[in-house]
Symmetry: C3
Subunit: 277 residues, 3 copies
């Protein structure tokens, strides 16, 4: 068994603090999944405390989901403090490409704070990479770049500071410029769950808090999300014989969170379908 | 089967974007129900992006649930942009009548942006209509006007610009000044679910995004909510023989969201109890 | 049966309004539990309306979970208004000890508004009490004071205005300087539920709205939370014979809320394990 699967146990024993500046729509979900995987969430966005809280964090998430001006200053402060302290930051550029304010803020954060990991859906990553055939509606990726790995690769190069770039979609992809991974786990219900993208970013941060190779951290975190989604889809009320409906998205979300809570490194290893080149 | 029931299919195929400026208490629920019905939610409230996001929206929701000053400016900007572009806005005057700040903000929005649809509980609508015997405690309608249809009618006339007014209660009512509807679907658990009113507004917006007759959009959206509530109450854990408890509000909310996700136009038509005069 | 258990019925018949200024992570959970216990939640934090809303409230919660400057002014205004009107305020100093901004804000509120009840986890209470061996990480109590009752007692004395102080942990403790209580109910899943601490504060406020002896209100509210947690842990999907897993935290939260909704004074009395000295 690859040591990547043991990161689950590492998180559970180290209980790293994951500092979030995130949106108010899915903040509760992000806190919940952070607890489910075994880490400790803290949401703190006042400029007065962002640096102090970051001081004891193992990783941070900056999520642009419901951006407003005072939050941007706090995001910049968190990003700079984290860089100074060597704490990995996961930037989730929710809605980049859908509104200029989000795109510009994403670039400000990328340029001024060089976050360790950028994780978006394939359309957001494609847009930031400058791929032309991306289509975004609100925060949803209607169809991303024809080739998400090409988008991730291009953004990674464009950034030029050795970032890990992850693009989620039917197949999730991750690259650090040297290695490339594809993760084949997941379920069609996942993108129907409000906050699944935000929650995936929280997972990536929890993994990065205990694994200094941020490429591997992102790969195994996204695989954990996909594996949990697969198991959750099987365990809903609709699973019984003669029943044709899978769980709906609301029940599925509950099952997803609880599956992660009980996921063992063995089951994770057994289910994961990861390809690293 | 009336074409109103097919709006379900329309939403699922068009996937309209529903732009929300809403409260932070139930924002996640509103996003969720928007997805459950087949539309795409986006929450964007920064003045920097409100107009740009509205540009690609099929409908908008303005919800006064947790009002604060900078949000009001964004609500006005969204309302004006939507009017200019012909995008239907659903105004949910949460707490109007309970606090002057909310009442005044509701009137500012009504006068300056003429939202297509006003949807509140019967006490909020009664209060805005100037009915005297309304009693509100916080955001709850303790008892509304004796006759909610009279309240809706009076507010509709008072507004004078052809708005659709919907008041929810034991029986939901809708009027556009020419037609009047009563919707008899629903369940006693619905008002016990935090966010059920806010979620109903999101549904109305999703329907209005695909049905230009906003009166019909509101009628069928509220019927869908009521029908889903009825089905959800039957499918909780407590439904088995020998069990006397229906689901509690928390389980009921999960079932409600998933029922909407799987609701077919046929089942919707079969269950709906709508009276249009 | 002690009359404390009948507070459940009192809340359900009086339906007091519980005014919250709280964090955006668990605001929905707080609203939900307030409804589950039979009270009415209202979240209002704009300075324009805080005093007016407080005017019709039976109790208030001030929760420092996601503090920002404009909110602090509203908290002070709410605290002062509540004191003037004799409305009990529950202060939940989330994260006091983890960031100076929260600690300072907690003290500003304590000194300027003398809230009736202070309810935190044992580490927060220990920190405010000035106990040295407290360890906090983010908003989590890693290990509190060796003796939580000592912490609560010391903070109660330090405050000097007759406050009720409650510290939650494996055993919950409450003191008003004259009496001391220990509540032995609860479940290991409770601290794994995001928002369980915040929800407990909402319950305390709901009980304090109908019981002028705030010491008893806090004791019975925390017992109700613990009892509901115990029942919820037994009724998850994993309860069947041959199954080894209890419910996960997400399912457990749903069950917890619904258990409170259906909890009878009789079952409450039967399960409660309270020791008052």
């Amino acid at each position: 068994m690859s040591k990547g699967f043991d990161l689950l146990s590492e998180i559970r024993s180290q209980k790293p603090l994951v500092h979030h500046i995130t949106n108010y729509v899915t903040a509760g979900d992000c806190a919940h999944i952070t607890m489910s995987i075994g880490a400790l969430p803290v949401m703190a966005h006042a400029l007065q405390e962002v640096e102090e809280v970051a001081d004891s964090a193992g990783a941070a998430v900056i999520n642009l989901g419901t951006l407003f001006p005072s939050q941007v200053e706090s995001m910049l402060a968190l990003g700079k403090k984290a860089r100074e302290k060597g704490i990995p930051v996961v930037l989730d550029p929710v809605g980049a490409g859908a509104a200029a304010y989000r795109t510009e803020t994403a670039w400000r954060l990328l340029e001024q704070t060089t976050p360790a990991i950028i994780k978006g859906n394939e359309a957001e990553i494609g847009f930031l990479a400058g791929i032309k055939d991306v289509k975004i509606r609100g925060i949803q990726s209607l169809h991303g770049a024809a080739d998400p790995l090409r988008s991730a690769r291009r953004l990674q190069e464009k950034l030029g500071y050795g970032a890990v770039v992850a693009a989620t979609g039917a197949v999730d992809v991750v690259t650090d410029g040297k290695r490339e991974a594809r993760i084949f786990n997941g379920h069609t219900l996942l993108p129907l769950v409000v906050g699944s993208g935000c929650m995936a970013s929280s997972l990536v941060a929890a993994f990065a808090a205990v694994e200094k190779d941020y490429f591997l951290a992102a790969v195994y975190a996204l695989a954990a999300m996909g594996v949990a989604g697969e198991i959750a889809a099987e365990t809903g009320d609709g699973k019984g014989e003669g029943q044709t409906k899978p769980p709906g998205p609301a029940e599925f979300k509950i099952k997803l969170l609880d599956t992660l809570f009980y996921l063992t490194p063995q089951e994770f290893a057994h289910r994961a379908r990861i390809e690293i080149i």
